[in-house]
Amino acid sequence: SEDQAPVISQTTAMNYLSQFGYLQPINPTSGGIISQNTLSKAIAEFQAFAGLNITGDFDEDTYKLMALPRCGVKDKVGPGFGRSKR
């Protein structure tokens, strides 16, 4: 069957990246702004981890995956995310 359309907005997606360790936590009281490069890098890291095509943009596949139910623990923690040997 066809996958359902993504159900999250760009703001939700940015919060998602922050919640799971790809972006620095967003302070809701200060309205901070991040550079496009930082955001693109964070999206690309998430796409690489999730096995998606790495575009660095919020594309449909990325939105769809972000809408899936998941574990609440950050993806990026500890030495497992250190330097890749290869």
């Binding site: 999730a50 095509n53 998941r70 574990c71 609440g72 623990v73 923690v77 500890g78 497992g80």
Partner: protein, 399 residues
């Protein structure tokens, strides 16, 4: 797999369910969570003991919304549960707004989510292997659950292998070789002759090496235990000596040999194959060297000799008339490649006993220390006696 960096220093761990879910009988929850812990104790010497009161190592609670740890749950869907690593106490919290179920395709399977969370409680982070239990996304109910090799390696990296004198290691179709000692490095064919036919990543995130009629699965730092295996035993109907392979974003894996190609979903042939490359991949020649999906644009690149072709299945014709082009357009990548694979944002090209890491964003071979080309045997197959530095035949390779 990925390790968070902390682990328990004792093998006997106690747990307590302080707050049960609203929609399931307590005795059934006890059974499911016991099963979830057993997933990990089956492969290690860890022992889990349930207590009804008093101090325990791992406290389990089913909670809704804000529940005191500053990390509120978000209602049905979204975040299902979270757990703390050993250094933070190991506790596991489940969102009680979810429809927790047992042995059912409805709702969210309690056993699977609990087994995942307990992985965190024991020190495992999220894995980027899709088929691993420790992958972060809920995959739906799996009726015949089996722990992935990736998870087994992760938990054994933390707590060691199960002592065979203290209990039996489960032996199923997938894990029947876990008691067989791996061959020593010097016996490994990939160490003595690292030239391969093809390499590819599966839709589940596993990396495979094909050589002759056998194949190996790669781990993060070498070759998985229990390999090589026969290609024909796992991919029924697929011959040996494969030229090239890739997995597309539709989750299907395509294998190429001579003038023919085969399509598989996982290890199951996806229809009547082989078919002619000239029919399924119009514009692509026979006897290709290797193929890869470039992460920069998601298009399929075929390489043969000194040339490459770009294939876009959404276009007509799928190969533009400006192709083939020279591989020398891919800066520092040699002609007559053997294999290629995409791994963590890079495309790796293999030729002879060496490989090159191509940065898909800068569109060039990375400047690195040691420089590329590097030894495939050392860096990919875990052969510790192989050369760790830059291979000396750089110019010869490029020529």
């Amino acid at each position: 797999y990925a390790l968070q960096g902390s682990r328990w220093r004792v093998k006997k761990l106690t747990y307590k369910i302080s707050k049960y879910p609203r929609n399931l009988p307590q005795n059934k929850v006890d059974v499911e969570l016991n099963k979830a812990f057993k997933v990990w104790s089956d492969y290690t010497d860890l022992v889990f003991v349930q207590k009804k009161s008093g101090q325990v190592h791992i406290e389990i609670r089913f909670e809704k919304g804000e529940h005191g740890d500053g990390d509120p749950f978000d209602g049905p869907g979204g975040t299902l549960a979270h757990a703390y690593f050993p250094v933070y106490g190991g506790d596991a919290h489940f969102d009680d707004a979810e429809q927790w179920t047992i042995d059912s395709f409805r709702g969210t399977n309690l056993f699977q989510v609990a087994a995942h969370e307990f992985g965190h409680s024991l020190g495992l982070s999220h894995s980027d292997i899709k088929s691993a239990l420790m992958a972060p996304f809920y995959r739906g109910y799996v009726p015949y659950f089996q722990l992935d090799d990736d998870d087994i390696q992760g938990i054994q990296a933390l707590y060691g292998k199960k002592n065979v004198n203290t209990g039996s290691i489960p032996v199923g179709p997938k894990h029947g070789t876990t008691t067989v000692a791996p061959p020593s490095e010097e016996d490994s064919e990939l160490c003595t002759d690292p030239k391969v036919d093809t390499m590819f990543s599966s839709a589940e995130g596993h990396m495979y090496v094909f050589k002759g009629d056998r194949y190996w699965r790669l781990t993060a730092d070498g070759v998985a235990v229990g390999y090589p295996k026969l290609i024909s035993h796992s991919w029924k109907g697929l011959p040996g000596n494969i030229d090239a392979a890739f997995t597309y974003k539709n989750g299907k894996t395509y294998f190429f040999k001579g003038s023919k190609y085969w399509r598989y979903v996982g290890k199951r042939m996806d229809g009547d194959y082989p078919k002619e490359i000239s029919e399924g991949f119009t514009g692509i020649p026979d006897n290709i060297d290797t193929v890869t999906v470039w992460t920069g644009n998601g298009k399929i690149y075929f390489y043969k000799g000194t040339k490459f072709w770009r294939f876009d299945p959404t276009q007509k014709p799928p190969v533009k008339n400006t192709y083939p082009k020279l591989i020398s357009n891919w800066e520092d990548i040699p002609d007559n490649l053997d294999a290629s694979i995409v791994y963590r944002s890079y495309t790796y090209f293999f030729k002879g006993d060496a490989y090159y890491r191509f940065n898909d964003r800068t569109f060039s071979v990375d400047i690195a220390d040691p420089a590329f080309p590097r030894s495939t045997a050392y860096w990919w197959f875990g052969c510790r006696s192989a050369n760790k530095g830059t291979l000396g035949n750089v110019q010869w390779m490029r020529n």
